[in-house]
């Protein structure tokens, strides 16, 4: 079954992107999209660990009312740092920077992204932004939450400007990656790889890149305005200078709502690929799933006001924003139905990545439905800024994106590392994450409807039981996540060698490259003759075995 191994064999050892050059410099200054993907992966894992530990500390503090381990000031900084790290340095870059970088060019049949140097530059810009963010946090004792609402934030003065500047810089990394990916997808597709044959993961990265390029500048403008206000005393956001604090919220959410789609769209792509491969069945409604990502990307710019129903914005705007929010919900819902429908008359295999995909469908649906509930004007008034919102976005961001990311990492792990992981450990970890996640966050829905406000250091005794339960859940969740880490490390050290196509995938990274791929991905230019989920072609193409694919086909 393996395709490319035969050609790249040198006695005893295969030349791969991992071993063809070994110096530290060859890693740090690499232009290879695969190695850059791994650089991102190592950094992003560290960020996730740090922000995750902060989350555990926040939960421990909330285990009982009053002081548990830290004082109010420290707690406020903990949850702020948790949010800022998770949003700006973890989840926004996560899927595009790791898997987008590594997998997307291979799925296109390209040897690299369009601008490899720019790609490396993006990584270092991200690093600079990241270091500045952490410096701003530690020096400035920022306790504004990740939303930086004025005028509270503008009173902090210098640290907040430093912080927005840092986020602006990190944002540039996002913009450059976006441009790079858009050009790559337009220009570097293999012969025969029409838009209708693009894997859905590529489609979703494409939609994400559009949002990255269009939305990220807005956070830069916001930063600039804050800076002008602080240095020149022009009143923009600070009412003490005649500014309008609500204007800041408009700016902030004009970026941050689309940013929500930067965070979730790539996850949609992963899930599409997983559902296809592990059902061995064409993804239902391919065109719809592909184009709805792009539609969501554009519509996502028109709903920012749903974060501001009680801010004092006009009732008319609230009503319009509410309506558009619903309309976005519909394509999203239909996608979920399509993913479930993909299994219909398929051949469903419950390997670890598929378990994550099914967990995603479960958790993300809850996140989606509660999102629609929050969009209902009369109900949102009660639920706004309570734990219901906290639970909702964790279901979408963690139950959605993070679960999809971990599923995707398991799926492409053999390709990336050339090693298999322990299937049993993988499944147990997935179960722990699923259970722990629900215990942690489902309880928070109830806390929220009962009126528990978010960002509270201390709380009334009637919320104590649910808070304690949520904290216990977070430990199960953490155990699951550490087991994932352990499984991967174990695989690196002890894992069996992976075949080039362990799951029977039908897109190019499985059919036309070895595991791990050679430095230039392909030994010769692949030519695409069928869709990404055409498992028939893969297994029975031209009535022969899959090897027939390598040679330019006589006829499709």
């Amino acid at each position: 079954m393996s395709v490319a191994t035969a050609t790249t064999e040198i006695p005893g050892k295969q030349v791969t992107y991992l071993n063809h050059e070994k110096s530290i410099k060859s890693w740090l200054l690499t232009l290879d999209h695969k190695r850059i993907g791994l650089l991102y992966m190592s950094t992003i894992v560290v960020v996730f660990l740090a922000a995750g530990i902060l989350a555990l500390l926040v939960r421990i503090e909330l285990m009982s009312p009053g002081r548990t381990i830290v004082d109010a000031q420290t707690y406020n900084q903990f949850f702020s740092l948790h949010g800022i790290l998770m949003v700006f340095l973890f989840i926004v870059p996560s899927v595009p920077a790791i898997l987008g970088n590594f997998i997307m060019p291979i799925q296109l049949g390209a040897i690299d992204v369009a601008f490899p140097r720019l790609n490396l530059a993006s990584y270092y810009i991200y690093m600079v932004g990241g270091v500045l963010v952490v410096a701003a946090m530690l020096l400035g004792q920022i306790d504004t939450g990740w939303t930086f609402y004025t005028p509270y934030s503008s009173r902090l003065g210098a640290p907040i400007i430093f912080m927005t500047l840092a986020i602006f810089i990190a944002g540039f990394s996002s913009i450059l990656t976006g441009i790079n990916f858009i050009v790559t997808i337009h220009k570097m597709r293999a012969p025969g790889l029409t838009w209708n044959r693009l894997p859905l993961f590529v489609w979703s990265i494409y939609a994400t890149s559009i949002v990255q390029v269009l939305a990220t500048p807005v956070i830069g403008i916001t930063m600039l305005l804050l800076l002008l206000e602080k240095t020149l005393g022009i009143g923009i956001f600070d009412p003490a200078l005649g500014g309008d604090p609500i204007l800041f919220q408009h700016f902030f959410w004009f970026y941050s709502h689309p940013a929500v789609y930067i965070m979730i769209l790539p996850a949609f792509g992963i899930i599409s690929d997983l559902m296809g491969t592990f059902s061995r069945h064409e993804v239902m409604g391919y065109k719809f799933v592909a184009l709805s990502s792009v539609a969501i990307a554009f519509l996502g710019f028109l709903v920012w006001g749903h974060h501001m129903f009680v801010s004092g914005q006009s009732a008319v705007s609230s009503i319009v924003f509410s309506l558009i929010t619903y309309l976005i919900g519909i394509p999203t819902g239909v996608k979920v139905i399509n993913w479930v429908g993909t299994m219909y008359k398929g051949s469903v295999s419950l390997k670890t990545p598929m378990l994550y995909a099914l967990s995603f469908l479960f958790l993300f649906s809850i996140g989606g439905f509660t999102g629609v509930m929050l969009g209902v004007l009369g109900v949102d008034i009660h639920l706004h800024d309570t734990y219901f919102v906290v639970a909702h976005f964790h279901y979408v961001m963690m139950g959605g994106t993070v679960v999809a990311l971990i599923g995707g990492l398991h799926y492409w792990w053999p390709k990336i590392t050339g090693k298999m992981y322990n299937e049993t450990a993988g499944r147990i970890a997935c179960a722990l994450i699923f259970i722990g996640f629900n215990v942690t966050f489902f309880t928070q829905f109830v806390l929220g409807t009962k009126g528990m406000p978010r960002r509270y250091y201390d709380y009334q005794p009637q919320y104590a039981d649910l808070h304690a339960l949520s904290t216990y859940g977070s430990w199960i969740l953490a155990a699951g996540l550490f087991l994932v880490l352990f499984t991967f490390i174990h695989s690196l050290m002890r894992g069996a060698a992976a075949p080039s196509n362990p799951w029977g995938g039908a897109s190019l990274e499985w059919t036309h490259t070895s595991s791990p791929p050679s430095p230039h991905n392909f030994d010769e230019q692949p030519i695409v003759t069928h869709g990404p989920y055409d498992y028939h072609h893969y297994y029975h193409g031209d009535g022969q075995s899959a090897e027939a694919e390598l040679a330019p086909p006589s006829k499709a």
């Binding site: 609402y149 509410s322 439905f369 009962k450």
Partner: protein, 311 residues
């Protein structure tokens, strides 16, 4: 009064809360039914179409367009129903009936002040007549805050330099929680209060005595100490919270961060309340908000009298 609410919602105690709950449960049940259908289909497919042999490759079915379009159509209809209903409830929540009783709310880090039509300023808790629409006209002295009463299902941000308003009509006489739900700094979670809904006559009586009535200055001061949330930072039993304890403060020698020192007499106590940043006690952060400077003189006097009495 015995109403403890449903599984999801807290006690329902205003004229609109029932409608909000009905809307909540409508969306909740629609969502739950669809969700169970999705998960059910998922479970069924996983079992029914599980892979039986490694080499099996099922025949691709072509998608049913009809199915796709009918789900889209159905969801649009559902969504429009829920939207319209939500919109109606929202209008109700937004527009106060004419002739509502108006109370001015001033939010500041980290307390609520209420000014009644007769000029009475009362801090901490909001007393209102039940079964009568009450409209709150709100304004912040410093940063954003948000006024939230879960049992009434109302919430509104409070913004500096701009009035926002919210209204409610308490349908039962009882005591309810007020939370600040917009992050406003260190003591955000201590920015609490109560709404106390009285029968009309009881309310009138309360209002006539709200200015301290015939309480002694110490008793009035003790009440104000709680109402103004001084007790979230200062204990009266010697324990350290955010600021120093009030126990035995009067007459003691104070050491300041600037290196100076002074004896805590009446003037010192007064100055510490109205201008806390002027003399910061050594070993403590300058965390006391400056907003107490605007308290009426009689209330300041009562607070000083009370602190003197805490021995």
């Amino acid at each position: 009064m015995g109403d403890k609410g449903t599984f999801w919602m807290p006690q329902s105690a205003s004229t609109v809360s029932g409608e909000v709950d009905a809307l909540f449960y409508l969306t909740f049940w629609i969502s739950t039914v669809i969700f169970l259908m999705v998960v059910g289909a998922m479970a069924y497919f996983v079992i029914r179409y599980r892979r039986r042999s490694e080499s099996e490759v099922p025949v691709d079915e072509h998608d049913s367009r009809l199915f796709e379009y009918s789900t889209i159509g159905l969801s649009i209809v559902l969504v429009l129903i829920v939207f319209t209903w939500g919109f109606k409830v929202y209008l109700k929540l937004n527009v106060a009936p004419p002739g509502a009783y108006e109370v001015q709310v001033t939010a500041s880090q980290w307390k609520w002040d209420y000014t009644y039509p007769d000029g009475t300023v009362y801090a901490g808790d909001l007393h209102v007549p039940a079964n009568r629409p009450v409209r709150l006209v709100m304004n912040s002295m410093d940063v954003l805050h948000s006024f939230f009463v879960p049992q009434f299902r109302i919430k509104q941000d409070v913004v500096p330099n701009r009035y926002t308003s919210v209204w409610f009509e308490a349908s039962v006489t009882d005591t309810f929680d007020v939370f600040c739900t917009e992050y406003c700094g260190n003591q955000h979670s201590g920015m609490l209060g109560k709404v106390i809904a009285h029968p009309q006559e009881e309310f009138d009586l309360w209002l006539s005595e709200a200015g301290g009535g015939d309480l002694s200055p110490e008793e009035y001061g003790e009440r104000l100490f709680g109402q103004n949330n001084c007790n979230t930072c200062h204990s009266i039993d010697g324990t350290r919270i955010v600021g120093p304890s009030m126990q035995g403060l009067f007459g003691s020698q104070r050491q300041f961060a600037s290196g100076e020192s002074a004896v805590a007499d009446e003037n010192y106590l007064l100055n510490s309340i109205v201008a806390p940043a002027a003399q910061v006690v050594e070993g403590y952060p300058p965390a006391m908000p400056p907003s107490y400077g605007s308290l009426p003189q009689d209330q300041l006097n009562a607070l000083v009298a009370y602190i003197k009495s805490v021995q």
